[in-house]
C-alpha cells in the first residue's frame, strides 16, 4: 500500500513535470499568436449574426476567453508560463547556493554579527515587498529593454534580497553542528574547511536545504504575485492611459501578472479574466505544496520526540 506522504510526493512530481513540459512547448502549441488581437467577432448562430466584443467569455474558439484587447487568454498563459515555472527555480537555487556558501563560511570562521540583536531585529521589521517595490518600479515600467534583460535584472535583485535570511539560518546551523564531537576531532586533526563542509556539515544540511528550497519557492512565487499587484510585473510593465485611467499590464504574460493586472474584473462581470490564469497558478502552487508537505512529513516522523500530553 502506498503511504499517503509518498503518494502526495509523486502526484506533486507528476504535476510539476506537466508544467515543465507545458512551459517548454507552450509557444509551439498555443492556438494563436500573442499579438493576435480580435476586439470584435461576428458569429452566425441559427442564421442570426451575433456580435461579441472583447473581453469575451470562454468559448469553442477561445478556451480561456479573450482579454480586453481581444487576445486569446490560453495563448498568453502558454507564452508566459515559462517565466512562472523556471525563473523562481533559478532565483531560489542561486539564493540557496550563495546563502549556504556565505553562511557556512561565516559559521566556520567564527564570524560574529557586528550589530546588536535589537537593531537587526528591528531592521527585519522592514517588509521586503515595500523595499522591492521601490527598487524595481522605475526599472521595469515602459522600459524598451528586452524582456530577458529585465528578468535578469529583477531576478538579480530578488536573489540579493533573499541571501541574507538563508545565510543567517545556515550560519546558526553551522555553529550548532560545530559543537559535535566528530567535528571537533576532525578540526583538531587539521581538516580543511572544504573537508569539514563535505564530510561534517553538508550531510546534515541536506534535508534542511530541501525543505528551505521548497518553502523559498512558494514564498518567491507569492512575492512575485504581490509585486504584480503593485504593477511591478516579472519581465516588465507596460503602463498606458486608458478610458478608465492609467492601466498597467504585463509585458511577458507571466501567469501571476495576468491575474494581478485584472483587479476590477470580478466586479465588472469578466470573471474569466482572473479565474482562468488563477486556476493554472493554483495548480502549480499545489504541486509545490504537495512536495513540501511530503518532505515535512518525512522529516517530522524521523526526528520528533513523543509529546507527554
Amino acid at each position: 500500500m502506498i503511504k499517503s506522504g509518498k503518494l502526495a510526493m509523486w502526484i506533486g512530481v507528476g504535476m510539476l513535470g506537466i508544467f515543465v513540459l507545458l512551459a517548454w512547448v507552450g509557444p509551439a502549441i498555443a492556438p494563436y499568436a500573442p499579438d493576435h488581437e480580435q476586439a470584435v467577432e461576428f458569429k452566425k448562430i441559427n442564421g442570426i449574426t451575433e456580435v461579441s466584443t472583447a473581453p469575451s467569455p470562454p468559448s469553442k474558439e477561445h478556451w480561456f476567453g479573450t482579454d480586453r484587447y481581444g487576445r486569446d487568454l490560453l495563448t498568453l498563459y502558454l507564452y508566459g508560463l515559462k517565466y512562472t515555472v523556471f525563473v523562481p527555480v533559478v532565483i531560489v537555487f542561486l539564493q540557496l547556493f550563495l546563502g549556504v556558501s556565505l553562511g557556512c563560511w561565516a559559521g566556520l570562521s567564527g564570524r560574529r554579527r557586528p550589530v546588536s540583536h535589537q537593531v537587526t531585529g528591528g531592521l527585519g521589521s522592514i517588509p521586503v515587498i515595500i523595499v522591492l517595490y521601490f527598487l524595481l518600479y522605475r526599472l521595469g515600467t515602459n522600459t524598451p529593454v528586452p524582456v530577458i534583460y529585465l528578468i535578469l535584472l529583477q531576478g538579480g535583485i530578488l536573489v540579493v534580497m533573499g541571501i541574507g535570511p538563508v545565510a543567517s539560518a545556515i550560519q546558526q546551523r553551522t555553529e550548532e553542528l560545530k559543537e559535535r564531537l566528530s567535528f571537533k576531532v576532525s578540526l583538531y586533526l587539521g581538516a580543511s574547511h572544504r573537508w569539514l563542509f563535505r564530510k561534517h556539515l553538508f550531510p546534515f544540511l541536506k534535508e534542511d536545504l530541501m525543505l528551505l528550497f521548497l518553502k523559498s519557492m512558494i514564498s518567491t512565487l507569492n512575492l512575485i504575485g504581490q509585486l504584480s499587484v503593485l504593477g511591478v510585473f516579472l519581465g516588465g510593465t507596460i503602463e498606458k492611459v486608458s478610458p478608465t485611467g492609467m492601466e498597467s499590464v504585463s509585458r511577458s504574460f507571466e501567469t501571476i501578472g495576468l491575474i494581478a493586472q485584472e483587479r476590477g474584473a470580478l466586479i465588472a462581470g469578466h470573471d474569466w479574466l482572473i479565474l482562468s490564469p488563477l486556476a493554472g497558478y493554483l495548480l502549480l502552487l499545489s504541486a509545490w505544496y504537495l512536495l513540501l508537505s511530503a518532505m515535512e512529513k518525512k522529516t517530522e516522523g524521523k526526528y520528533s520526540l513523543y509529546p507527554h500530553l
Binding site: L123, I130, Y137, S293
Partner: protein
C-alpha cells in the same frame, strides 16, 4: 582601594536606549533613501544608468525646505487634505488585525497542536496562498451571492464614501493568523516533549494547569521573538490589501505613477510610525496576558 560598584541595571537601560535610537535613525534614513530610489535611475533608450544627484537633491530639499515651504512639508495635492483620516484608517487596520491575530492565533495554535491528518494539510495550504488570491475568493463569494439573490452582504471594494471594512480585514488577518497558528502549534508540540511536562503529569497536575502554567509560560518568549516577523508580514500585506480593495489608507500615496518625493518620504515615515505603534501594542498585550495568566 575601595570596591567600585557599578549599577549594571542602569547601564543596560542606557545601552538599550542608544540601540533603539540607532535603529530609528537607520529606519528614518532608509525611508528617505528608499523613497528617492526611483530618482536614482535614468532610462534613455535601452540604457539604464545610475545617477545619484537627483535623488540626493530631493532628499536635501525635503530635509531643509525649498520654495518657501517648511522642511519636511508636502504641498497640497488632491486627496492630501485627507492624509490624517487615511493615516487613521491604516493605523487602525494594522492595530486591529495585529490584536486579532494574537488573541485568536495563540489559543488556536495550542489547540491545533493535537490535530493531525487532513485538517492540518488544509490549514497548511491556506498558509501558502497569497493574500490577493484570498481577496479574489472572498470577493467572488460575495459577488456570486449578489448575483443569485440581489443582496450585497458586504462591500467588495471602497468607492467614494462606501468603505469596505470586513473583507480587507479578513484578508489581512488570515495569512499571518495561519502562520502564527502553525508556529504556536509546532512550539507547543516541542514543549510537550520536555521533561518538566512529564514531571508535572507524574505529580498529578490537571491538563489545564499544565497548559497554562508550563506550556503557555514557555511559549510567551518564542511568540515575543516572532512579533517583528508577524508585524512585518501584516504591514506588507496592508500595502497589497489597501491597493486591491481600493481602501482609503495612506498606502494610496505610495503609487509611484503620481511620483512626488516629499509625499513618498512622508508616507514611508508614517508607515514606520504605524508599524511601531502596532508592535508596541502587541508587546504590551503579551505582557498583560503573561501577567494575568502565566505568573508565579
Amino acid at each position: 582601594m575601595l570596591p567600585l560598584e557599578v549599577n549594571t541595571e542602569k547601564i543596560s537601560v542606557y545601552a538599550r536606549m542608544w540601540k533603539y535610537l540607532l535603529l530609528f535613525f537607520i529606519l528614518f534614513v532608509s525611508a528617505l533613501c528608499l523613497a528617492a530610489f526611483p530618482l536614482f535611475f535614468r532610462v534613455e533608450g535601452e540604457v539604464i544608468s545610475f545617477d545619484w544627484e537627483p535623488g540626493m537633491e530631493a532628499i536635501l530639499q525635503f530635509l531643509t525646505g525649498t520654495d518657501g515651504h517648511a522642511p519636511g512639508s508636502v504641498r497640497d495635492l488632491t486627496d492630501y487634505s485627507n492624509f490624517g483620516e487615511m493615516f487613521g484608517y491604516s493605523a487602525f487596520t494594522l492595530w486591529f488585525a495585529g490584536t486579532l491575530v494574537l488573541l485568536v492565533g495563540v489559543p488556536a495554535g495550542m489547540f491545533f497542536s493535537k490535530i493531525s491528518g487532513w485538517p492540518k494539510s488544509v490549514v497548511g495550504f491556506l498558509g501558502i496562498i497569497p493574500d490577493f488570491v484570498l481577496a479574489i475568493f472572498l470577493q467572488l463569494v460575495v459577488i456570486l451571492i449578489y448575483r443569485k439573490s440581489g443582496i450585497l452582504v458586504l462591500e467588495v471594494a471602497s468607492v467614494y464614501d462606501q468603505v469596505a471594512w470586513v473583507l480587507p480585514m479578513i484578508t489581512l488577518t488570515l495569512v499571518p493568523l495561519v502562520y502564527l497558528v502553525q508556529f504556536v502549534s509546532g512550539r507547543t508540540r516541542q514543549i510537550l516533549t520536555e521533561d518538566f511536562i512529564r514531571t508535572a503529569k507524574a505529580k498529578g497536575l490537571s491538563r489545564i494547569k499544565i497548559y497554562m502554567h508550563h506550556v503557555f509560560r514557555n511559549l510567551l518568549p518564542s511568540i515575543r521573538g516572532q512579533l517583528h516577523q508577524l508585524n512585518a508580514t501584516l504591514l506588507g500585506n496592508l500595502l497589497i490589501i489597501e491597493y486591491w480593495f481600493n481602501s482609503p489608507g495612506i498606502t494610496r500615496f505610495l503609487d509611484t505613477r503620481d511620483y512626488y518625493y516629499p509625499l513618498m518620504a512622508k508616507t514611508l515615515i508614517c508607515l514606520i510610525l504605524i508599524y511601531w505603534i502596532a508592535y508596541g501594542w502587541m508587546r504590551l498585550l503579551l505582557w498583560l496576558i503573561g501577567k494575568r495568566l502565566a505568573h508565579d
